[in-house]
Amino acid sequence: MARFIEHTITILPVLLEGLGVTLRLTLISALIGTVLGLLAALARISRNPLLTVPASAYVTVFRGTPLLLQLLFIYNALPQLGLLLPAFPSAVVAFSLNAGAYIAEIFRAAIQSIDRGQMEAARSLGMSYGLAMRRVILPQTYRRLLPPMVNELAALTKDTSLASSISILELMKYSTQFISRTALVWQTFVWTAVLYLVVTVALTTLASWLEKKMEARG
């Protein structure tokens, strides 16, 4: 027991440093992914094929291929095509694009769940499509959006562990490096899992709490 505590004291500070990078990667990607997702959703539900076709292609490609492949493609293949990105930006691009594709579907479902009469009422008052979307439709989606968005954030937190494969020093990479230095395999993995769990459980708890709160408000 004493040794376990001793190991924990040496393991945790190292892992916490990695967790910081993981959280930074998650938050930046989530932010960009949300903007991308909103734009892609609006493009997909528009009636202009110049918007719907590229948006659908984007969502299909990024939801239909492995995230690891996307990450490796951006980091390893794009340089051969003339676009060289350092590891961290590569990861941000990959995670943002991937999250954006999922978030686009979240936004689209939320927007399409709003009664058609809302758009008609807004348009009948002389509001433009954009104004109606911004002032009438989107504000009504926030409540429906929050729970799936928080879940998406939890998924993204775990997915960023793939960044270790392009040698970004985030939680997973810190963990495996620490193991190769110290051979404390199970102790390190357990604490790594605990740290991921703290984040994801906090987020999913938040999501279900939000969901309940919103149901209560009707």
Binding site: Q118, A121, A122, R123, S124, M127, P139, Q140
Partner: protein, 255 residues
Amino acid sequence: MGEPIVVIEGLKKSFGKVEVLRGIDLTIHKGEVVVVIGPSGSGKSTLLRCINFLEKPTAGRVLFRGEEVGQRQVAGRLVPLPEKVLDAQRARMGMVFQRFNLFPHMTALENVIEAPIQVRKMPRAEAEELGLRLLRRVGLGDKAGQYPNFLSGGQQQRVAIARALAMEPDVMLFDEPTSALDPELVGEVLQVMQDLANEGMTMVVVTHEMGFAREVGDRVLFMDGGLIVEEGSPEQIFGEPRHPRTREFLSKVLH
């Protein structure tokens, strides 16, 4: 008779292969209350929705204050107007829906002042003054801060009428405004509509309320199968309907 506000010529509308409007000609004059009656599926709501281009006519045209609404005939083809032009046209036509369609995330007052502020660029203080005046006019001065979910159907519909009036429309379109209401709430909405008619508002009302049609309508249209089968004064339509289908319809709904 006042000047024509809405002129409809040879209006047709199909959904896929189903032709819902099969050639409508109609002129609505300033200050006139036109009530449209007819069995469900006769095309009366579609006719109303074609006036402000919520439905896009397949053929023919709708003129609002002399201007084609939503699309224009160019060399025999219908070409959409710029969105801005359509928005400006719609801003001057109020519409009241069967299901109210109030914005649930806004209070009654916010519902009323949203379009004046955002579309007419009215200063907020002025819009609020207008909004409160309109809410009082529909008997809801004390409900300004209330969200739609906390209002009865009749109250919601009256807010919706105030919301449409806030744009100071040249014509008000009512699409079965009392059909979704509990019977005891119908009266309060019809009363507001009657007041509006008495004040000289130009109105097109699609309704199943025959009492309203008779009392308030200047002209009653009976539609069936996508056509105006018969039109006339309420006295004529209800007193001595000429067309057998009008007679058949009225005998069903008046008993």
